[in-house]
Symmetry: C2
């Protein structure tokens, strides 16, 4: 690539979140950056899009960096659609989403607004990566992740990604000296066992808060959960063709029209 | 199965939508039915869940059927979580979602609230099916689909589904005599090319409406889009392990830590 790459940056924690500001700094050292991100937190939005409501979009000046920035009233997936199909003159060379405040490893990829943005970019055949740090705090330290993120983005810009695949990257909450490097993994077979905290409003209406416990059933040493526990940054290739191809022949044996 | 199966019914168009009322009627002929569905439309919510807001839940009496019903202020995925982990004493034998007013074939599965409910049930190891009719109208005729839905649900109750897999079923908008039967398919490789309709509010703020054109790049005769065009009901096995297993070795060759 002879000219500077065009990089689209988004997230789900909102355009002022420390995680995206860190990601913007790293991307400014690689290419020309456009930021299109939600104007407020959109965590756990999955792959929601705005079809029954208006979508606002506003130019922003948040710091003195060289990047161009827009906030929107939409979801992470909306931000990518708006960037690609309305705001940009050409397709970005890379889309990065994050750095999310909190894990998107294992089954959390399904609920993740961060990853839905990366997947939306992948659908438009833009190489895309979602980044998350295993620390929910607003004042989390993203600096340890930055050099790894830069290396991986340069690699993806050089090599591209196969059509239909995006990367889900999770970073353990460790000092840089304690991070052992990047590890390619599969998604661990884990899930949430929910508990609902039932309460009553001052008006007498029952309501619930969703709480839960994350249970990892997977003993494999090739999973993202294992890698993160061992101090590695996990890199999971994620596909958005959801067909269970290996199950087609079994279903065909059912004789559904018999 | 000697006793009547317990069937959880949900959707994303809201508890009063004609599509779910049709599905409830069919399920009442098979088993004991509990309905937990959103109190308002939640289309295109993807796999969103409610973690930063209260979740209301209210017992409902909508018709004189034998089913037990609850509406919630949440998303389809919330409804399944609440049913499984709070409202029900035992795990349902089957979860059905829909019948959605409009297609969830091909890439639309990613955006689909209907399918997110089925996937959420699948994560809790409940056999689950999402149903959609290719007609967006509120007064669409769901009757042609009903006997096919009953047959498929009885088959799934008899045989179960492999762990990690749920079914995505789309029904063409045809009279019953014109439906050729059920066909097991893969998800077509198609996507939306978006156009944004830019407008200005009376207050002078720019906003957008998302519009778009669905483009099917896939010429295969084993896809859901092909089957639906030919007059079949498409049945796609969907997985929620998003790992692109076939790409792990390629990524490992990148020498990410080199």
């Amino acid at each position: 690539m002879t000219k500077r790459p065009l990089i689209l940056v988004t997230n789900d924690d909102g355009i002022t979140a420390p995680g995206i500001r860190s990601l913007i700094r790293v991307m400014n050292s690689i290419g020309d950056v456009i930021v299109v991100a939600p104007d407020s937190p959109q965590s756990a939005m999955g792959h929601a899009i705005t079809i029954n409501n208006t979508l606002y979009c506003k130019k922003e000046h948040i710091d003195n960096g060289p990047q161009e920035e827009y906030s929107t009233s939409g979801t992470p997936a909306d931000c990518v659609k708006l960037a690609v199909h309305e705001l940009l003159d050409r397709k970005p060379d890379l889309c990065v989403s994050g750095i999310n405040h909190g894990s998107n490893s294992s089954i959390n990829v399904i609920y993740s607004g961060t990853m839905s943005a990366a997947i939306e970019a992948g659908m438009s055949e833009i190489p895309a990566i979602g980044f998350s740090l295993l620390n929910y705090n607003w004042d989390a330290d993203f600096s340890a992740a930055e050099s790894y993120i830069k290396t991986l983005c340069l690699k993806v810009l050089e090599k591209g990604l196969q059509k239909g695949i995006v990367l889900n990257v999770n970073v353990p909450n460790l000092a840089k000296k304690d991070i052992k490097g990047l590890k390619v993994c599969r998604q661990a077979n884990a899930n949430w066992v929910e508990k609902f905290d039932k309460r009553q409003s001052p008006m007498g209406r029952n309501y619930y808060w969703l709480t839960g416990e994350f249970i990892n059933h997977d003993k494999g040493k090739d999973t993202d959960e294992w890698a993160l526990k061992e101090g590695y940054i996990s890199v999971v290739p994620v596909q958005f063709d959801l067909t269970a191809h290996q199950y087609l022949s079994e279903l065909n044996n059912w004789d559904l029209n018999g």
